[in-house]
Amino acid sequence: MSFEEIKSLLVDKFGVGVITGEETGGLQPALLIAPDRIADVCLELRNNPLTYFDFLSSITGVDYGVEANRFGVVYHLASIPYQTQLTLKVSVENTRDLNDLPTFPSITSVYRTADWHERETYDLLGIFFENHPDLRRILLPDDWEGFPLRKDYKAAEYYKGIKVD
């Protein structure tokens, strides 16, 4: 199924509002999805016999820069029977307040592999996933402060009272 066909399939199923834009400038086109519908979109893309995107390659959290105040998540889907790939993007504005993290729905109910990917995204970028079964830090210690992959992250001077050089 081509990129355009997937787009019209999603619009037919969920209405016009589900796709907020597209990026076709580079080598791989990407669909921008409304953040609150991403789990439904993934479920549809996986279960529809025409698309059958059954393999989630990766989830990438993105901090779009200090001025932009935008956080996003990029999903790379692949279909094993059709040998196709698709990129989905969601993004939301956020003030970088640590008590109000950017939040997206979790897609663990669709792809189990999203479990660890979302934990990693939460760990390194501070992006919260609603309805995730076990959203703990994964690579860093449980008591780590801050989210290192954010563009405004400053390395701590002390860790547990030990000076970091």
């Binding site: 580079g26 989630l56 390659s57 990766s58 901090d63 790379h76 993290l101 189990r112 660890w116 990693e120």
Partner: protein, 400 residues
């Protein structure tokens, strides 16, 4: 303390409570991070009921070296040595994937001379053999067979020596560069490599007699840790894990990148010869068969490098290297078949600077390991070791 709101700590508190409850009724057993059979610094928290594992909670991150943060502050060329340190048992495959992604973004992937592509595939396949030899050897040790480990390491040493000759380093090569290679192969490399292949082929037959058909080994691995295909796909498993479950899915064939379409090779899959499709023995066997296929590919590369793509005095492996690597503004996800599975790099370039705004590494071991809690539910502790060994992960890649 954390400054974030309480709802973000909910999962952590649930986890603490679960462990506290399990500690009163069952036994909580820590395997690792210094346990020899965890192949690195992996800590597995087992909730056990006698000899039965009720639940496994993996704790990773002991080897986290901030690859993605480093990649955001260095140019593409400077990041290549860091990719070597991801899966340090198959460094060539890592840098090949990374370099391929950058070349495609620059639009120079079609201009790379054939000789360079063949050299790349040659060293990648040699490295894949070395990586699988470690997987097989250490798996034998996990199960209690010491000899295969020594044999595998002896043969791997020849590959290490050859790659050191080509690149100057034993494990972390920095050999494949964007648009070319560090150097051409040293004079006589092709001949020495052919000698090695002649030496190595009978050694694989010996190894099969020693381990693959060994009844003790089969009893320990057949019908243990069965991974059904749908679970494998849903958990994002790839490489020998996925093929062991019976799916012919090899990105070298699917994506047809580099010169793989010109090479002849099969994709071995698990057939359940000794037990069920997708058990530990199948995963092990897929790796053994893949070594054979890699040997076949190395032979084809060598014959081409010695005949139609022979070295010429004016051949410069750096001639196509761009002075400045500034791809135009775009996102690109490149995937290729590493030694452990689908290795992907996702780049975000802004079109102005030589430094990417975001690089993400999709590590095959990370995804393959994430299926462990599912695989290890309700197995015996002894089988746990067999399952962990059959996944063949490298912690450098899991933690990045």
């Amino acid at each position: 303390m954390n400054t974030t709101a309480p709802k973000y700590d909910e999962a952590l508190n649930n986890y603490y409570q679960k462990i506290a409850e399990a500690a009163t009724e069952d036994m909580v057993l820590n395997m690792g991070p210094q346990h020899p059979s965890t192949h690195g610094v992996l800590r597995l928290e087992l909730i056990t009921d006698g000899e039965i594992v009720k639940e496994v909670i993996p704790h990773i991150g002991y080897l986290h070296r901030c690859f993605e943060k480093h990649a955001e502050s260095l140019t593409y060329q400077q990041t290549i040595p860091f990719t070597d340190r991801l899966d340090y048992l198959a460094s060539m495959n890592n840098s090949h994937a990374f370099v391929m992604g950058v070349e495609r973004m620059m639009g120079i992937d079609k201009d790379i001379p054939k000789r360079i592509e063949y050299i790349r595939v040659l060293v990648c396949e040699l490295n894949r053999i070395a990586s699988h030899l470690i997987a097989i050897g250490t798996y034998g040790i996990d199960i209690g067979a010491f000899t295969p480990f020594l044999w595998c390491f002896r043969d791997r040493e020849h590959i290490m020596g050859m790659l050191e000759w080509a690149s100057g380093s034993r494990m972390l090569y920095n050999y494949i560069w964007v648009g070319g290679l560090f150097y051409d192969l040293p004079v006589g490399f092709e001949e020495r490599c052919s000698e090695f292949i002649t030496y190595f082929k009978p050694k694989m037959v010996e190894l099969n007699q020693l381990l693959t058909d060994n009844q003790v080994f089969i009893s320990r691995t057949a019908n243990v840790g069965v991974l059904p295909l749908d679970v494998a796909i849903n958990y994002g498993c790839s490489g020998p894990m996925l093929r062991g479950s019976g799916l012919k899915w090899d990105l070298r064939r699917i994506d047809n990148y580099s010169v793989y379409p010109e090479l002849e090779f099969d994709v071995p899959i698990g057939k359940g010869e000794m037990g069920t499709v997708g058990d530990c023995w199948d995963r092990y066997k897929v790796r053994v068969d893949e070594i054979e296929q890699s040997v076949k590919m190395v032979e084809q590369c060598l014959s081409r490098l010695q005949n139609e793509l022979k070295r010429t005095p004016d051949f410069d492996p750096r001639s196509k290297m761009p002075r400045k690597i500034t791809p135009k503004a775009q996102d690109y996800y490149v995937r290729c078949e590493g030694a452990k599975g689908e290795l992907g790099f996702y780049f975000m370039a802004d079109g102005r600077s030589e430094i990417p705004t975001r690089v993400k590494c999709r590590a095959p071991s990370f995804n393959n390991l994430s299926v462990l809690p599912e695989l290890a539910k309700g197995v015996m502790i002894a089988d746990m070791i067999a399952i962990v060994g059959s996944i063949d992960f490298v912690l450098g890649e899991v933690d990045r």
